[in-house]
Amino acid sequence: MVTVLIPQPLRTLTNGESVLTADGHNIRAVIRDLAPRYPELADRLIDGSRIGRGISLAINGDVVSTGLITRVPEGAEIAIVPQISGGES
């Protein structure tokens, strides 16, 4: 069982729910598990073979960089954040 935190703007896709629970060993499996209950959310989170446009997923605070096959440990917390960027000297 993992926890998926739904940010305010996405709660239109979850009937207002802010925290969902789901099962799945990787990101794709978690989203598939959510899909029957929250089809619009699942559509938002998956774009073909990759994570949906303009958003990133974070597992226990670490941004996912290996896409839908990223392993999700049992009990993990998944956050949905906008895609972000960086630059240094």
Binding site: Q8, R44, G61, S65, G86, G87, S89
Partner: protein, 767 residues
């Protein structure tokens, strides 16, 4: 935990032999003798010089372009416009700082139907000499239908504002789009707790509005790009870039080539700070080379750099924050509107994530808007978005402390996030150095000292940046003399050859000098993400560590072969002694690294270690800055008298370069605070596109910058590294603002806090 600047090695790093020392950087001699080859230094046989014609208007429809006179000029070999590129789709590509639609990437490189900012490229020329190329662009005739420009983020968001893109609709995080086209490209929001209840709990609520100007990264080396399209259909690119693979993966689709046809060689780079991630000249040079069959070099001059390459966003921000009398912050409401420039993609998302990140505030709402305006497309700039958003929030926090009569440092300690705290965006912190930085600042000689004298003031601010990980690659070979060439894909902007090589050396138990790092082209190393996001020493170091562990395993195996024993009986110690079981005579068998290296060739050949990592963890960085200023009340000028920067580096691999990042970040932050701005007239003409009038700090504008490195090792890295490059640019502006208020009692709500702005807010009495 705290290390003084003069100490060669910190307590935290005493366990290490190489990490924490200050070796001479490997590329140093080339860089003090003039031998290092930067992008513009390249010369290829038969090379042509290119030049770009740029729009004199901020917003206009291109009616026609006549290149015939330019083409007729003797010495001109090709003239290209957007129409000469293959049609780009709206496919989304990885641009190294996020993603972008390919057609917008192309349109920013060279305008199609509209020019969207002054300096927008319109045509490009290749000629036998750069003087001729310059003459040729003067001969290109462009007819424009001039449109009303939109220059301010709030104006751009208003219904009925002139639109930059008819096809742009506001995107929400849930994937929905606005019905009507808009200059607001997207809206995001983070929430936590109950905002109304939080404000109801507060004894004091302060609300402030802030405006900040666009500001440029200001690297001293202008952009450049050299391309050679060969007869066999392969394309060589030489450029100063923070991400050679990003250049490859941007140029290839624009010219409809396979990435395998494109080889990008990252030249030495004269600063980037995020601004040398996007492509500008490389696709133009590539097409000009394709047209002429000869190498083409394009360089920008400084005016072009300021007009047409990515600054960071100008913003309008509003922050409302409430606290109880005891200093507990109960609620914060943050509104961020960021100028993206001509195409969507401001760093408002990162700004929103960082805005309140140092503090455990139960009730929060953070709204962010990404808005297009007729100014250059913004690019990443050192902790993109955070200097703006944290300027707003730190400033209001300082005013709350003032209002409540509390010590601003104590109030921060009282509300500081610690391990286990969760941000509004959902991240839960692991082990972080937030409190440690504040404590170190509190104990610093600077904070403990008294500041005396009229018109002088002291300010403090905190900063946060999340840092990133992602893909890095490293290969290393063991030579017979024990030296180890290390092959990297990360452009070295500030000493990362050294910091990565040191982690390889540490893991192998050899000296930093025995490792020879090389930054190579995209065909010679595995995929490596940009040098940016404070990821290079982190992820590159991780790759080096794994690469070294690969070598250690292979050397154990080789020793086992030589000793004819089982590899599991051989161990490679951290002291670089490879120990095996006792031999037939009962004597211990062992090799030093060099002894075994010398036997590799005759015992089965060389050893090559390799690693490709893709790290999801990062290691958040915090910083606390203290500044003393003196304000001349008659002129509005602010002098920085004393500065102390405290920062959690995780583990400082090369402390001198950690200090250097901290000091450099402070200098840029002070520049942003006091003088750096994009000064436009009403027509959208940038009036200060030179280093004379875009006023970056000189040596005479700064004091020595005391740097205190705090080391709270990142548990998510083999050596505890956190990124260090970005966070130090964040606290200077709010700290300077607080110091000005402390000096003359005036709170400035705009950046830069220039003499003009301060006079306007004081003796000249408001607007």
């Amino acid at each position: 935990m705290v290390t003084a600047q003069s100490q060669p090695q910190s307590k935290e790093t005493e366990q290490y032999n190489v990490i924490g020392t200050r070796p001479i950087r490997h590329d140093g001699v080339d860089k003090v003798t003039g031998a290092a080859q930067y992008g513009a230094d390249i010369s290829l046989p038969g090379m042509l010089a290119g030049r770009v014609l740029r729009s004199p208007h901020a917003h206009a429809r291109i009616v026609s372009i006549d290149t015939s006179k330019a083409e007729a000029l003797e010495g001109v070999l090709a003239v290209i416009t957007n129409a000469d590129f293959p049609r780009a789709s709206d496919e989304v590509i990885d641009t190294g700082e996020g993603t972008a639609q390919l057609n917008w990437v192309l349109d920013n490189v060279i305008a199609s139907d509209k020019v969207l900012y002054k300096g927008h490229a319109v045509a490009a020329v290749a000629a036998t000499d750069h003087h001729i190329a310059e003459d040729a662009v003067e001969l290109i005739e462009v007819e424009y239908d001039v449109l009303t420009p939109v220059l301010d983020v709030r104006d751009a968001m208003v219904d009925g504002s002139p639109l930059l893109h008819d096809s742009l609709h506001t995107g929400e995080m849930d994937g929905s789009k606005s019905d009507n086209p808009s200059n607001t490209a997207s809206h995001l929001q983070f929430t936590k707790g109950d905002l109304d209840a939080g404000f109801a709990d507060a004894d004091v609520v302060i609300e402030r509005e802030f405006e900040t100007s666009m500001a440029h990264q200001g690297y001293i080396e202008p952009h450049n790009g050299t391309a050679y399209y060969r007869a066999d259909g392969t394309l060589d690119i030489y450029t100063s870039t923070q991400g050679a693979f990003v250049v490859r993966d941007s140029v290839a689709p624009l010219l409809q080539l396979s990435p395998s046809q494109v080889k990008v060689t990252p030249m030495e780079i004269g600063g980037g700070f995020g601004g040398k991630i996007p492509v500008y000249l490389e696709p133009l040079a590539a097409l000009l080379s394709q047209r002429t069959g000869r190498p083409v070099k394009l360089t920008m001059n400084r005016e072009e750099v300021l007009l047409a390459t990515g600054p960071t966003s100008g913003t309008y921000m509003r922050v409302r924050m409430g606290a109880k009398r005891d200093g507990t912050i109960t609620a914060a409401d943050v509104h961020l509107a960021f100028e993206a420039g001509a195409y969507p993609g401001s760093p408002v998302g990162a700004g929103a994530m960082c805005a309140l990140a140092p503090y455990d505030i139960p009730n929060q709402r953070i709204d962010g808007y990404d808005v297009v305006v007729n100014k250059p497309k913004t690019a990443a700039y050192r902790a993109p978005g955070a200097p703006q958003s944290e300027f707003a929030t730190e400033s209001v926090l300082n005013e709350l402390a003032e209002e409540l009569g509390l010590d601003p440092l104590e109030m921060r300690l009282q509300n500081a996030c610690e391990e286990g705290a969760q941000r509004a965006d959902g991240f839960t912190y692991g082990i972080i150095g937030n409190v440690d930085c504040l404590q170190a600042a509190k104990e610093s000689p600077h904070w403990q000292s008294e500041l005396e004298g009229p018109n002088r003031g002291r300010g403090i601010a905190q900063g946060f940046w999340f840092n990133i990980g992602f893909e890095s690659s490293a290969y290393a070979q063991v030579n017979g003399d024990g030296s180890v060439p290390l092959v990297l894909g990360s452009t070295d902007i500030g000493g990362t050859r050294a910091s990565i090589a040191m982690q390889l050396a540490e893991t192998l138990g050899i000296s930093a000098e025995d490792v020879h790092p090389h930054v190579v082209d995209t065909n010679s190393v595995g995929y490596t993400q940009v040098t940016g996001g404070s990821r290079t020493t982190f992820a590159g170091g991780w790759a080096a560590y794994e690469c070294a562990m690969d070598i250690r395993r292979q050397m154990e195996e080789r020793a086992a072969q030589i000793w004819e024993c089982d590899a599991s009986d051989v161990s490679y110690g951290d002291d670089a002694i490879i120990r095996g079981p006792a031999n037939e005579d009962g004597n211990d068998q062992q090799f030093t690294f060099k002894e075994l290296a010398a036997q590799l060739v005759t015992s089965g050949g060389h050893i090559v270690g390799r690693a490709d990592v893709n790290k999801t963890s990062s290691g958040p960085a915090f910083a606390t800055h203290i500044v003393d200023v003196e304000v001349d009340p008659d002129t509005g000028k602010v002098d920085v008298l004393r500065y102390t920067a405290v920062q959690d580096a995780g583990t400082a691999i090369h402390p001198a370069y950690v200090e250097g990042q901290m000091q450099g970040g402070v200098a840029q932050g002070v520049g942003m605070a006091l003088n750096e701005e994009y000064y436009y007239d009403d027509s959208g003409d940038l009036k200060n596109a030179s280093l004379l009038d875009y006023r970056m700090p000189t040596a005479l504008d700064l004091p020595m910058i005391d740097s205190i490195i705090v080391e709270v090792p990142n548990p998510g890295h083999p050596y505890g590294v956190r990124g260090v490059g970005e966070v130090p640019i964040i606290p200077p502006a709010p700290a300077v603002r607080a110091a000005i208020a402390n000096a003359i009692g005036v709170h400035m709500n705009e950046l830069p806090m220039s003499p003009r702005a301060i006079l306007d807010a004081t003796v000249l009495g408001g607007d």
